[in-house]
Symmetry: C2
Subunit: 313 residues, 2 copies
């Protein structure tokens, strides 16, 4: 696969990220030893037309910006301390502020600072920095999956995909049911689960770009193979009625925005929270990812430089 512009740029950035705290830019967040504590810090952006649909409720955009960044903290078992917002003024700043306030209240996180700018024309973008305190050290990474571990996920995939389709009009409904689109508009980071899991897991990450691509990233970072069983992957209830159920199952596994936690545990340890066993960690033998025993073909998830909505993590 040809290297994309984004991959090239990230390669250049990796050369500047020589501090171990940066984890070679290969993890969900930076992990900084800081006095007696360990700081976990992440920054993600959202761009109009890429990460949100034109005309979407500004309150939902704000919520998602908070939730996707806190999801990166959840993947580290970090307790959020606060956020800094980089905001581009838009069509309804009050709605944005409303949604931001709702998200910060829901996750009990204060706004600490940031910056506000006007962009004369073109696509707006926002950035958010989320800051957390590690609750367990060492802080889990993507690279800790060990042969023999079981692979787990905290919840189903596909609900965000369906929400996106309904919201974008790909699936026609008389009125857009709020509950159906909620998973796409208002994801909930698995903060409590991340904190409970951090002392136990081998590897942990959040599923932001699609289960298959994210599982492959975990496998590569750990130098192992993740062998998943597709029938074991929990699929959102709202998708199960779908006529083309099998195609939809695959789509759900390669779509992003679900923000469940993907993690590995030694086989004798049960997860301390609701989770689904979806596979095993095996020795690497030529493929980082196996699905039902074979290397999955085609698109595994959201990939950089692709048009469309996804990849907030």
């Amino acid at each position: 696969m040809a290297e994309s512009r984004e991959e090239r740029f990230i390669g250049m950035m990796r050369a500047l990220a020589c501090d171990p705290a940066a984890r070679a830019l290969g993890d969900d967040a930076a992990v900084v030893d800081f006095g007696s504590e360990t700081l976990v810090i992440t920054h993600d952006m959202m761009v109009e037309g890429v990460h949100w649909l034109p005309g979407q409720d500004e309150a939902d955009i704000a919520w998602k910006l908070v939730a996707t960044n806190l999801s990166d903290l959840a993947a580290k078992g970090a307790q959020p301390i606060g956020v800094l917002l980089g905001y581009t003024l838009g069509p309804d700043d009050a709605r944005f502020a409303q949604g931001l306030g709702e998200a910060l209240a829901a996750f009990a996180v204060p706004l600490l600072g940031g910056d506000t700018v006007s962009a004369g024309h073109g696509a707006r973008s926002h950035g958010l920095t989320a800051l957390g305190r590690a609750t367990h050290r060492p802080v889990p990474g993507r690279n800790g999956a060990r042969v023999g571990d079981r692979v787990w996920i905290t919840g189903p995939v596909g609900a965000a995909m369906l929400g996106f389709e309904v919201l974008g009009g790909a699936i026609r409904t008389e009125t857009v049911p709020d509950a159906t689109t909620r998973a796409f508009r208002r994801p909930v980071p698995r903060l409590a689960e991340g904190i409970a899991l951090a002392p136990l897991v081998g590897a942990m990450m959040d599923v932001s770009d699609g289960l298959l691509i994210d599982a492959q990233r975990m496998a590569r970072a750990s130098g192992v193979t993740l062998a998943l069983q597709s029938a074991a992957v929990p699929i959102a209830e709202s998708l199960q009625a779908d006529a083309a159920a099998e195609d939809r199952r695959h789509a759900a596994m390669t779509w992003g925005d679900d923000y469940e936690l993907l993690f590995t545990l030694p086989p004798d340890i049960a997860p301390p929270c609701l989770a689904h066993a979806i596979g095993r960690v095996e020795e690497y033998r030529g493929h980082s990812l196996l699905l039902d025993g074979a290397a999955p073909q085609g698109r595994l998830g959201y990939w950089h430089d692709e048009p469309g909505i996804a990849d907030p993590g």
Copy 2:
């Protein structure tokens, strides 16, 4: 003066920034007690056509993004720990990476993480989060100016203004002299000065939007009057030859982007670094800012929602 959109939005944000670490969004950075240490954290954005000139060298844009954020840390006497970059892919990502690497090396700060996005169209924007460790507690703020203190600045104003004019073609030269535009393109945050000053100062901030407006902000935050003597304000050497020297002096005091530190000291304390005494702190009597004994008229500096280049802080 009518409230601008940005002011309205910041007002809404202030309601969400109830944590004391946020300093009511009225300071250069957030100050977070974190275990045995105190964290200083700031996030500033730069927007194409607002904070940089179209066609400007991408390496300079990267440098300035780093420098302006580190300047906020300097104002707190913080030692930088690292930065996170929110980057929008552009015409020359390799030049941006080059300038970023130069700035990070010059200030000995590692890249810790961030995000890269593509914006389909329109103005690009970048954000940077800078993270530092407080070297002195309490961490200085804008609100510590006390009646009787002297007011100081670490260096001259106006060089960035001249650099901007030359670079933008407002002043025609056969070739653009690198040294003349350097102050605008490659500002240097006063990190060592900030650390040396932090244990001594009453109030401290960086001059990013213009000396007069920033002095007024310090005065307001402290509930005092800053009485400045214009003849005492150091003006960049390159401006002193100017025919209309007096007009230029005023312009230099109301232009931003200089990134010197403005601070107050008790009258019996001499600054531990090169600095110029430019005024005194007086009891508030109706005007926050006096210049040569009178409230200055007109524009005091870069103001929100204004078109033009400035306000990276």
